[in-house]
Symmetry: C3
Subunit: 206 residues, 3 copies
């Protein structure tokens, strides 16, 4: 279907832009120079998909098609200009980050399926694509990754990916499955931010 492919393409471009904006908003709280901010934006927005493509031995998506690179740079620079003029709330980057998480989860899961990966690998590829960029962003900003400390983040990604795979196993079209999975991930993440849903944190009795 050509329709579904152009939708997924648009989803990918939008996800890259959202994660680049989130990267700039996060890096902007550190004393970085303009280059450092661009690097964090690129790493945050392209890191997850790059790892997915390297693991699946596909051509890395932003090398095959420069549009993603340009989208990330434009979104990063636009956010940079905006953020210097307007006083923004500290946690604003959480919103584009959540959107990027949902979009990348969907595109990562479907890219792995298209390579013939089994369902468990495909769902993990969705999580990797959604989460890894944010981990790299936090490591470069010298923060503990947001993902690990009880935030309902990667879990939201995984549940969305599993729903997508389950719907397709029951015969849903890729488009509807992507819509349902992505919406689930986004809503779970937004509820987690809004209502402070957290996973129980566990510490061994050592």
């Amino acid at each position: 279907m050509q329709g579904i492919e152009s939708i997924l393409y648009g989803i990918g471009i939008a996800g890259v832009a959202a994660q680049a904006a989130a990267g700039v908003l996060d890096a902007g709280r550190k004393p970085f120079d303009l280059f450092g901010i661009v690097v964090v934006a690129l790493a945050a927005s392209l890191g997850g998909g790059s790892l997915r493509d390297v693991l699946l031995d596909r051509t890395v998506f932003w090398i095959a098609d420069q549009s993603y690179l340009i989208s990330a740079m434009m979104a990063g620079l636009a956010t940079f200009v905006l953020v210097r003029r307007v006083r923004l709330p500290a946690r604003l980057f959480l919103l584009p980050d959540a959107i990027g998480l949902a979009l990348f989860t969907v595109s990562g899961t479907q890219a792995a399926l298209a390579m013939g990966a089994p369902w468990l690998v495909a769902s993990l590829m969705g999580v990797v694509t959604g989460v890894f960029g944010g981990i790299v962003r936090d490591v470069l900003c010298n923060e503990v990754p947001l993902v690990f400390n009880g935030e309902l983040y990667a879990t939201a990604s995984w549940l969305g990916a599993l729903l997508l795979l389950g719907l397709m196993a029951y015969g849903a079209s890729p488009g509807w499955a992507a819509l349902a999975g992505g919406t689930t991930t986004l809503l779970l993440r937004l509820c987690a931010i809004r209502f402070r849903w957290r996973l129980p944190v566990f510490r061994a009795r050592a």
Copy 2:
């Protein structure tokens, strides 16, 4: 030989399980949620072999064969359940970690040899396979990598890999060479833990 291949396959599955258990025991000392613990367990157990396969341009082993992924998840979850019920000594994770180091050193060296890599590269691939998962685990847990601070760790891996390669150069069968190399790595590492063998730490006069 079909015999040696099934032995190496079993070695790989056991090594993945051992490193996943070590990852959970290490991550369990941090306030991580269940997902964070699963991620650390997967990164610790699959990271070294993934880097090896990406560098050698092989299909990543746990994408080609889901058994590794399932083995890592089962071992991680079993350790997680165990660790919540029983009070475990703080350094317990060192034992499965040492076993995983020995198993991965052997499988990494032989995988590189099978790709036709020269001996120096093959021995380093053994070290990468054995050590990189643990480095990722420690970086994700925000600790200085265990490897660098005078622990006889990667050195034990390298000596085992070099012995394996030396024995094969003198005509030993892959099975015996693997046994001798892996046992050497394991014994060196266990002695290093038990008798506090350490490499001299060096600091430049700056």
Copy 3:
């Protein structure tokens, strides 16, 4: 042209040696054992090119040709011996690091061009090749990457890569373009160190 290829080959070997020396001089300020120092030297000198080759899906350069690995090890060990005998100024590692940055920027950009990458990707590959090894070195040494805090570092690399690409677009031979681009990167970096040229550091009003 066989002449230009052997020049680029020599540039690559020299760049690896320079970055390995810089890695040892940097790691030598931490209490690392000999193995840790070798790892940091190898990661610093081979990391950038490895990431470039994995992203471009080329055979990793130091696996295809062991000379790079041997060059990195020899340069690292020679620096290690030297540094134990002579009292060296703390910031000495900045000089080989700058040379390595210039050499890697050139070789990374031209490797990407040879794969048919478009110019924006090619210039970023030059930056990745030049900068990523140093980022890995700093992360392994548990320091904030030198690159991000206003140092004119990656920017020097990018300007050199863009000059190289611009000259080639206007018909310059690869050799002259490489010479001009590499010299630009080196001079910018040396001036930045000598005259404390820095990029403006930016912090969002959050």
